[in-house]
Symmetry: C2
Subunit: 504 residues, 2 copies
């Protein structure tokens, strides 16, 4: 308790300091835009009612007549929301560290994005939805080259755009299955038996292959993804699944420097079990075509592992001929202080496939040349496909290719500079508290609800954030908590000390 109190006091002090800290230059928009950004952001939260307030309650009730309403936190006024401040329909203005499940990359109503969408030259892009795989617009090659490909993970030269996170992972799985079968066959030309049996869901055309995933993982809610998701029963209950192997994700003890030996043992145990499962499933006749893992488990807790663990895992996958798929749907886009969380591993050859969505505002996956499955196939097209795939003109494409480059690409160096692109309130809180900077090498998250690194007293932020939250609250900040979950809800049951509004 003493250390928690101390931390809280430190945090209060540091937040107070940060409020006086002059805004530094902003590298991602023009000088004029910096000014307008300063204008458009709010200084502090402002609570007017309990949350959810009366208007939210009324709308939630109405929604119950139309569709399931049990997951609704409250209704929002997005027009009035700014930066990291979310305004609800009852006029409450909250510091939003949840950011639409980690999907708002640079804050609400960012002037640079508003400028893009209000450009009349972009209007056509919003009303004509090309089927990108067959009839792309002229600018598409440039947009991929000057946009997504500039943030391609090491060694992955190709990118398949998709619509959402689940579709990205589903199609990444399919790419791994096809790659694996081509290897098994020794050719990309399917046999007659392959072609006829696949039409009726039977082997050999629909093979007995598996994807190895990890306990606590979250990879999406469609049926292929669900078979690799193991975070909460509610996602999976009553939905048929595949008998695929599930390896343990390390459960590290904190503070890390006091549990070096235990944690090394724990990671070694998980690696060994992973390798055993790969062998076991091969013997079962359902070989592991790919291993999928999040660099930081978010939905399933806030579970980290060392760079050494991931690098060893990747080697084990390669040793057994399994593709290695890093799911960065939630961690990609700068949330960890580098563009991709896996960059913190410092690996030369981090992955075969890296999937993304959320903060990138479009889904998809990067992949290495050898994973270009369609290239190798006789009747090769449309194996990996979707009608729309994404809107190539989405603002983010323009942001990435625009002068001055990405708002959401952290500067390469370490230190404060790289935080300049964050919405101001986040920056202020995050940068100036030393305990948060201790989280290296994972860096400073844009969306701390998901990705707070271990803090100085050795607790993990997501699983034990009360001191941290208390600090924020003491500084007059109101925190929008993630949706109540049995494992997490108690942590967010604190109330603002100034009594202005509850956490929920």
């Amino acid at each position: 308790m003493a250390s928690a109190l101390l931390l809280r006091q430190q945090l209060v002090a540091s937040v107070h300091n940060s409020l006086r800290f002059p805004a530094s230059g902003c590298r991602y928009v023009s000088k004029a835009a910096v000014n307008s950004q300063a204008d458009y952001e709010y200084d502090r939260p402002l609570m007017k009612t309990q949350v959810p307030g009366p208007r939210s309650k009324e709308l939630t009730k109405q929604m119950g007549q139309i569709q399931n309403n049990t997951a609704i936190n409250f209704f929002c006024n997005y027009e009035e929301s700014r930066g990291n401040f979310l305004v609800d329909v009852d006029g409450n203005r909250m510091l939003d560290v949840y950011t639409q499940i980690a999907s708002i990359p640079i804050g609400y109503n960012h002037p640079a994005l508003l400028k893009v969408v209000s450009d009349p030259n972009n209007a056509s892009a919003f009303v004509n939805r090309p089927a990108l795989g067959i009839l792309p617009p002229e600018s598409f090659v440039d947009k991929l080259t000057e946009g997504l490909l500039t943030v391609a993970p090491k060694g992955l030269n190709r990118v398949q755009n998709m619509a959402c996170g689940s579709c990205s992972n589903e199609n990444a799985f399919k790419a791994m299955f096809i790659w694996y079968r081509n290897k098994e066959r020794g050719t990309s030309i399917p046999s007659d038996a392959d072609l006829s049996s696949c039409m009726i869901n039977q082997t050999p055309g629909c093979p007995e292959l598996s994807i190895l995933s990890f306990s606590g993982a979250f990879h999406g809610r469609t049926m292929g993804c669900l078979a690799t998701t193991h975070s909460k029963p509610i996602h999976k209950l009553d939905v048929p699944s595949f008998d695929w192997p599930i390896a343990p994700f390390p459960r590290l003890q904190y503070p890390l420097d006091e549990h070096v030996r235990e944690n090394a043992q724990e990671e070694a145990r998980c690696l060994e079990e992973t390798e055993d499962l790969i062998v076991k499933w091969r013997h079962k006749g359902m070989p592991v075509a790919g291993v999928v893992i999040e660099p930081i488990q978010a939905e399933g807790g806030d579970n980290h592992a060392s760079a050494a663990f991931f690098i060893s895992l990747r080697k084990i996958a390669s040793k057994h001929g399994c593709a290695f798929h890093v799911d960065e749907v939630q961690t990609g886009g700068g949330a960890t202080g580098r563009f991709w969380a896996h960059e913190h591993w410092g690996a030369e050859d981090p992955a075969d496939i890296v999937s993304f969505s959320k903060k990138l505002l479009t889904g998809g996956f990067f992949y290495r040349d050898e994973m270009e499955t369609d290239k190798r196939r006789g009747d090769g097209r449309l194996a990996i496909y979707d009608t729309m795939q994404y809107n190539p003109h989405h603002p983010i494409s323009t942001m990435v290719r625009g002068p001055g480059r990405p708002a959401w690409q952290p500067a390469a160096g370490r230190g404060h500079g790289r935080h300049e692109a964050l919405p101001r309130p986040t920056r202020r809180i995050m940068v100036h508290h030393p305990s948060l900077n201790q989280g290296e090498p994972l860096g400073i998250p844009v969306n701390p609800w998901i990705l707070l690194p271990p803090v100085s007293d050795g607790t993990r932020a997501f699983n034990a954030p009360p001191p941290l939250l208390a600090g924020w609250l003491s500084a007059g900040l109101t925190v929008l908590a993630p949706p109540a979950d049995p494992a997490v809800a108690p942590l967010f049951s604190l109330r603002a000390r100034d009594g202005e509004g509850p956490l929920h």
Copy 2:
């Protein structure tokens, strides 16, 4: 041949007539907008190069460096495209009866849609992507009520919005599984065994249940959907699947009125086999939770069945306790002359679930009260969920709720009036040729490549369209064919008679 020639001559004459036909009033936009629509549409195709032209070939080659490029037809200039005319990057202007795989509801760059997206009040909607299931915007209830729910299929009072067609079907399947298991259990409260086993993909939590689908069906490309898709091997090859039952879809003979007995027998055979499969899979220990079917098979050919067939099928599903899911992703949104293709059945109780996407510009599914699975569950939320779900401010929402109402909702009556909302070239061709109107009760499609009804000489338009295409071509129209497919390509190998450009 004689009848084909006659048909062609009739078509030429009727198209020529239609070109002189004065534009009638347009019910879905204001007078001013009508004028601008008249201004913005092109009169006729204009071919400048072979297709794909040199610029398309160059871009396709570039694209090959980034991702699979084998499915690309050509690159487009969407800014210059209008109504039913698609302009490519080589300046070719083609009559587009393909419309981005049936996904452009009212033509390219429709003035009413452009007006919506260029309204500064809507800008915020494009840059802030709410996680709709938890933090919806204030206007969301109204948008659903005044938008999607105004086109709710009979008996389906609730709507779940989703992002794309595959996600819509995947989540509709999940809803049926959950509904079925709740029935089996007699309660929505899962047992401890359910909760623990589902986390590792095992029964009883992940039950052995199935979805019955039909040969030739296309329901999407994610792994759950793929298990019900049986149109082409390329979609399914090398992807693990579920051992789910696949019933025969009727293969009718044409002209219908000359094959009444044979077709009745064929449909009876398919119904009988469907019922046998439901019983067989129950005995196998993998009961059919739901039956999914398209009202018209499109990707798998152009396969129709009678209203009586669908009504009987729905009764068989109910008799055996299976949910009945009508997949209108490709047929919904007015393509058949009514808003939903299943309306042609005249059924009082057509379905338990109807899924949609494409022409509705957002995905989702309508469902009846009893299918509100989450309502019944102790920890009931987020079983059916996705981070974004859709953009509630998408132009179509505004279109549907705007004064004068839907561009894409055909008028209720029969006859020419209901075609007035179609882009002009389609309207001209379609309305004034009597052979096309014979297709009733399926009505007149917006996207004839997919949904041309049987024509007067008894051939089916999609499977035997040469006379029809020849007629269009004779009238100086250039037709953009669907992607080459072994079963279809030969039908599109005609060349324009005026030699201006090839079909491909």
